[in-house]
Assembly symmetry: C2
Amino acid sequence: MLAVPKRDRRAERRAATRREIVDAAWQVARDKGLAQVTLRDVADLVGMRPPSLYSHFAAKNAIYDAMFGDAWTQFLEAQKAAEADEPAASRAALRYYARVYFDFAVAFPARHELMSLHTIPDFTPSPDAYAPSVASMESFVARMAKHGAGRQEDVDIFVAIVGGMVDAQLANDPGGDRWARLLDRTIDMFADNIGITDERIRP
Amino acid sequence: MLAVPKRDRRAERRAATRREIVDAAWQVARDKGLAQVTLRDVADLVGMRPPSLYSHFAAKNAIYDAMFGDAWTQFLEAQKAAEADEPAASRAALRYYARVYFDFAVAFPARHELMSLHTIPDFTPSPDAYAPSVASMESFVARMAKHGAGRQEDVDIFVAIVGGMVDAQLANDPGGDRWARLLDRTIDMFADNIGITDERIRP
DNA sequence: GTCTATACACCGATAGAC
DNA sequence: GTCTATCGGTGTATAGAC
C-alpha cells in the first residue's frame, strides 16, 4: 500500500530555509574562501542572528556536511548531463571524462577543496552526505569498464592523475590554463598504458 | 675584503630560540594537524606565555613561513642525500625521483600540506622561505633534462601526477600503500610518453 | 517551533610594566 | 625579552520571548 503524498507545508518551509542557509554558505565560500565561512557572515546573508542557525543545523560542520553532499550531487548531475555528448571512441571518452571533472573542479575552487581535499579541521562527511559521491564513483567506474579501464588499479591511477592536474592548476596557475592545456596529453599517457589504440597526441 | 667572522652570542641565542619555537610548532602540527597549531600550544612546549612568541615572530603566519622554508630545506637535503643512490638508467631514475618525493611527502602529511597545498588561510610564503623550494625545483629540472624530460610541459606533468598520487594516498588510504604500489607503473606511463625505451612494468 | 539575547571558552594580537 | 592584562572575533550552548 502506497503512502498518500500529502504535502507538509511546515517541512517544506524548513527545507527551504536549510537551502537558503547552504546557498549563503556557498556564497561566502566563493567570496572569501572555504575556511573563512563564519556563522556570522552566513547569518547576515539570510537575515538571521548567528545562534538562530542552530535551529536548522546542529553545528557549523553540519553546514559543511550539507555543502559536501550538495557539491557531489551537483557533480552527479553534471556527469549525467555530460552523457549526451559522450564520445564513442575509448580514448576520446577518457579525455572527456577527465575534462568534465577538471572543468567542474576548476570552476569553483572552494567547492573542489571541500569535495576532494580534507582541509576542514574535524570535519568528516556523514554517510548521507557521502552517498552522492559514492554514486558518482560507481557511475564513473562503470563507464571506465566499458573502455577496458575498470580495474581498481586503473581507476585509482586515473583519479589520482586527474586530481593532480586539477591541484597543480589551482595551486600554481590559478585562473590560467598551464595544466588544462596538458590534460589531453596526460590522459593519452594513461590510455596508452591501458592499451587503447585510438589516435593520440604526440608529446 | 672579507668580513671577519666574529661570533655574536646574542644572535646565536636568538636563532636557537627561533629554532626551538619552530620545532615545537612542528610537533603540534604532527600531533594535532597543521591548522590546529595554536600559539598557546607552541608557547607551552617552549615554556613561555603566548605573547612572548611575538618577540621572535611578528605573527603566527611568520611561524608558518619559517616552517615552510624549513620543510623545503629538509627536502633539498633529502634530494641531495638521494643523489648517491640515483640509478643511471633513465626510466629507473624517473621512478627514483618520484619515489623520493612520494616517501618524503607521505612520511609527514602535515609538512606536505604546508609545502604543497595552499590550505592555511591568508598565508603566502615569503621570498626567503620560497628560496629553497625554487632551488629544489631547479635541481630537479636539471636532472629531468639529463633524461630528455626537461621541457616545461614534461616537468609540469611529472609534478602533477606525482603530487596527485601523494594526495590520493593521503586522502583515501592514509597509512596504507594503495597508491604507493601504483607509483612505478604511473611513472612508466610518463616515461613511455616521453619516449624512454628502458624496461617497463606491464599494466 | 522559531528566533533572540546573553554568555562562555578559545583564538590571534597588542599595550605596557618590569 | 618576558610577563600580565586586555581587546575584538570566533564557534557554541542555553534560557526564554513570541
